[in-house]
Amino acid sequence: MYSAVPAVELNQLSKSFRVRRAATTGLAARARDAFRPRTQTVVAVDRLSFSIAPGERVAFIGPNGAGKSTTLKILAGILRPDAGRVHVLGLVPAQDRRRLAFEIGTVFGQRSQLWYQLPPRDTFELLGRAYEIDRREHRRRIEALVSVFELGPLIDTPVRHLSLGERMRCEIAASLLHSPRMLFLDEPTIGLDVSAKAVIRELLWTESERERVTLLLTSHDTGDMERVCTRAIVIHGGRLLWDGPIDALRRGYLKAKRVTLWSEAEHLDLTLPGVRVLSSRSYRTDLDIALEVTPLGRVVDAALRQSAIRDMAIEDAPLDDVIRAVYADAERRSATS
């Protein structure tokens, strides 16, 4: 049974940073900069409001610099907001950081909490003490996670010998050791190959289902949000742009596919409505296909009529294109209203 208290509640959250401006040219200007550096204010989060119910799996998406990671760090109590109200599991992160830490887990894809020279088991033991987990319960929990995440041969291997995908499985397991009610994930699949990404997505989904963990996940990979999450929040320039079910986002904006064809013929002529040739090199053609105009099958048929196809790769449209479409739509709607 879920609690009535929202897992996350943001109300008009704002955060900005003062950053040093690049040094100017000229000796006098540089000397002046050394003593009185010129700074500028960068708004990372701008009056952002949303709430997440317990048990929800939410994709938090936006281009680089949109304010996703900053928001996540505010929610984890690591950064302090400049303005606005923030509640996570009923606690104020900046004030109750240590109490909140017992209830949340964090995964930062480009960072590591594992001790590099040591096997993950040593870090797991450390975290057991840090999170004050009963020793018997901790052993049981490690066994369960080792089984679910298939860490058997990895848990006693020094981290420096693990592949990125293996390390990431250990990182996520480490974040779940204390059975958090809420998990913040910042680019958990960054840099992973296709199969490692699939494993991580599957694990996140099953663990969230099994343990009823609320997920808030940032990613540049539309596959992450489609396969793990049920809802998406899109931000741009620190402001909320779109908030709704993933299905609606997919129906509304994920209408294009990137397709690469490797053909026996040196060049293919694929002038079809809704098909944009991104590049055409010898034996390789890159296409952008608007699926609601021309289905993928018709494009493949057209290609096969011209040549045998040696290989084909299909990708979702880059997230930046989705964001652009959402952004353009939001602009259009605000103009008409």
Binding site: K73, L79, I104, F108, Q110, Q117, L126, L127, A130, E132
Partner: protein
Amino acid sequence: MTARLITKYAAFSRIAIAQARRERGELYGRVVFFAVILGVFSSLWRAVAEAGMPVAADPRDLVWYLAVTEWILLSAPPIHIEIQEAIRRGDVVYRLGRPVSYVIAEFAAGLGLLAIRAPVLGLTAFLCAFAFTGRIPPVSALAIVAPFGLAAAALMTALYLWIGLLAFWLQDISPIYWVWQKLMFVLGGLMLPLDLYPGFIQRAAVLTPFPVLLAAPASFVLRTGLVPPGVLARSLVIWSCVTALGVSWIFRRATSALTINGG
């Protein structure tokens, strides 16, 4: 409550010890460096004495003095570098997100490293100084030097923590450490006892923690100690309190000023 906290932070010391055991090369490097330094300086003091130049103390005493100051200096783990690197890599977000005091956890990890280094380097100091001088100071002197040396190395670790926290603003703390190290070498009396220095340096030194860290504990192997053990114990307590307050204050400011690379 206290036992729970001790268990909690002892885990950070334990994992640092485990890590140090895996990185033995760094410790062996320090042992070799230490032996070379003592060898060079014992030859230097002997040559100075044999040349008939005035040496203010017995050259053998000076070798033992240097063995103790270097033991303290090399035993204190440079945790400021680890803090700086964690901030640069962004791994600090994990460390700040745990239900522990960041500064106590870092200090506990530093003490773990100290627990590995101090015995190994202490043994190196003892064997090398004995080999180069052919004599051992009175056991009563060594019995005082050991606990004061360890306490001084622990205080030095806490001061390195303080320097490390500056990386929250500066990212690169090497210029700060460079100045700190040079001040410690001079005002701490790393090579020579402080009473051989000009008066103005001695007067400046007593206003800093450096003599408490190096010269005072090492001076027990000389025939004339710099300060009595009771006074040194009191000074260590006072500087420890000042350091703890300073670390706590700077950490509060550091977290409110925190910006983390890469979003």
